[in-house]
Amino acid sequence: MGSRRLFLTTALGAIGAVLAFAAGWPVWRYLSPMEEPGEEERIALDREDVPLGVAHFFRFRGQPAVVLQSSPGVYYAFSAICTHLGCIVQWLPEQREFLCPCHAGRFSPDGRVLSGPPPRPLDSLPVTVVDNRLLIG
């Protein structure tokens, strides 16, 4: 290959790569998920919202979560996403357990797997009680 041809091919290739990047990068950024309300986000709930034996569902870092008062003053919070294939668990007040409607995974009030296909406990979230408020996250 003549050196002039080599030079031109290289120059064209380089220009092509620059242009492809200039076009590709904005498209990539445009399509990428936007920053969610931060990994740092914390949520405060009123204690009245979570009476004894009741599960309260809320949105946390973009995803469904649940907080439960299992015995007086004892709170548990979890991601409400089943650890099997990602359905949202429901709280059964009578049975005092979480049930996943997809493949009947069952979880105890503290998140342990009771039966069914889920491979691990519900992902728990830290809860702190501050006066009349619950801080989650």
Binding site: L31, P33, M34, F57, G62, G86, Q90, P101, H103
Partner: protein
């Protein structure tokens, strides 16, 4: 009058020649069979999807607040909205069924073999693109069914090591299915995929026309065509003309499928629209018994039977890759099923596994 129009056009563009080459003087093998009409059936059904789809777009609103109610409005208030929507929904299911039949016939008759590898590969891409159209279209009504079926389907990508979580986020445009998922699925469903689809169909048809229709590998006078080491169009001297003979047969089969489409639309519109499709999406409540559409049940079941999702996903990828590259793996020129016992056995096993997994997935 038609003659005068043709004369007028012929004088300027020489269309008589083109028409003759492609219709009356375009000869097909004498023993051509009904399976060769399925491509024309697909073209018709896709044309109908485009037409009903464009009409639905007039009233459909792609936002989480309005999507569900706009579809209810199309169904219940706009005159004949129910007809267009049901035709579009039932049509998509029928298309997948015909696509599978079309593919099975190409497999059974060995028409994917040299020199038709590119026809096969482009067809396989079309099948995947069609499934992509089904998947993206399913989310648009923003019902409980849409929302959760999409959640489960996109979740599967999470099983890929390292990239999984990012990939799921990229597909959804966020951590969970939401407004941004609807936006990207809508864009793909109504513009991105159809455009690609049109280009690929054009290429697929170009391949078919350029190589020539394969001779069905049946009957006593079938002789395997010679291998050529330069381009060769497969002619069928003494064959039957495409027009009017074969087109009449195609029109018959197309009418059959249109009748089936209309019959399901009128008498069993709920066949593909389960009750959860009539409840607006609620990200906090997963309804019981969410199942993907019938043609994804096999994949859904594969994910469930393997101990890890990653293994299930890997099995699917391997199966699809083998199918895509089949012409490059199975390279013997023999096309007669009676002389390919191993292939026919695998073919039947493959169908049985697909059907078995689907039924299992449906009832599990």
């Amino acid at each position: 009058m038609p003659k005068r129009i043709v004369d007028w056009l012929d004088l300027r563009l020489g269309i008589r020649d083109i028409l003759e080459q492609n219709l009356t003087k375009y000869l097909l093998p004498r023993n051509i069979n009904i399976w060769y009409t399925l491509g024309a059936v697909l073209l018709t059904l896709f044309a109908l999807q485009f037409a009903t789809g464009i009409l639905l777009l007039i009233y459909y609103q792609p936002s989480p607040q309005e999507a569900f109610s706009s579809v209810q409005r199309i169904m219940n208030e706009i005159p004949y909205g129910w007809l267009l929507r049901n035709l579009h929904a039932v049509g998509s299911n029928l298309i997948v069924a015909v696509l599978l039949l079309h593919m099975l016939s190409a497999l059974f008759m060995g028409s994917y073999k040299r020199p038709r590898e590119l026809t096969w590969v482009s067809g396989f891409l079309l099948l995947n693109l069609s499934l992509g159209l089904c998947l993206t279209g399913y989310l648009l009504p923003w019902s409980q069914l849409s929302f959760w079926a999409t959640t489960i389907a996109t979740d599967a990508a999470g099983a890929i090591p390292l990239l999984g979580a990012d990939l799921v986020g990229f597909l959804r445009g966020g951590t969970a299915v939401g407004e941004d998922t609807l936006g990207r699925f809508f864009a793909l469903h109504v513009m991105g995929f159809p455009l690609l689809f049109g280009l690929l169909v054009a290429f697929h048809l170009f391949c078919v026309r350029r190589t020539g229709v394969s001779k069905p590998p049946f009957g006593p006078d079938y002789t395997p065509p010679k291998e050529h080491d330069r381009f060769h169009h497969e002619h069928h001297p003494g064959g039957i003309p495409f027009f009017p003979h074969y087109m009449a047969k195609e029109a018959g089969v197309i009418s059959f499928f249109l009748a089936l489409l209309v019959a399901i639309t009128f008498f069993a519109p709920g066949l593909f629209i389960p009750p959860t499709a009539n409840i607006p999406a609620d990200p906090f409540v997963t309804p019981p018994g969410i199942k993907p559409e019938w043609y994804f049940l096999w994949a859904y079941q594969v994910l469930k039977i393997f101990p890890s999702e990653l293994m299930g996903l890997a099995v699917q990828v391997v199966a699809m890759t083998l199918l895509a590259l089949l012409p490059f793996i199975d390279r013997s020129p023999e096309r007669r099923p009676a002389r390919r016992p191993l292939f026919v056995a695998l073919f039947i096993c493959g169908i049985a596994i697909f059907v078995g997994l689907s039924i299992w997935g449906y009832f599990s």
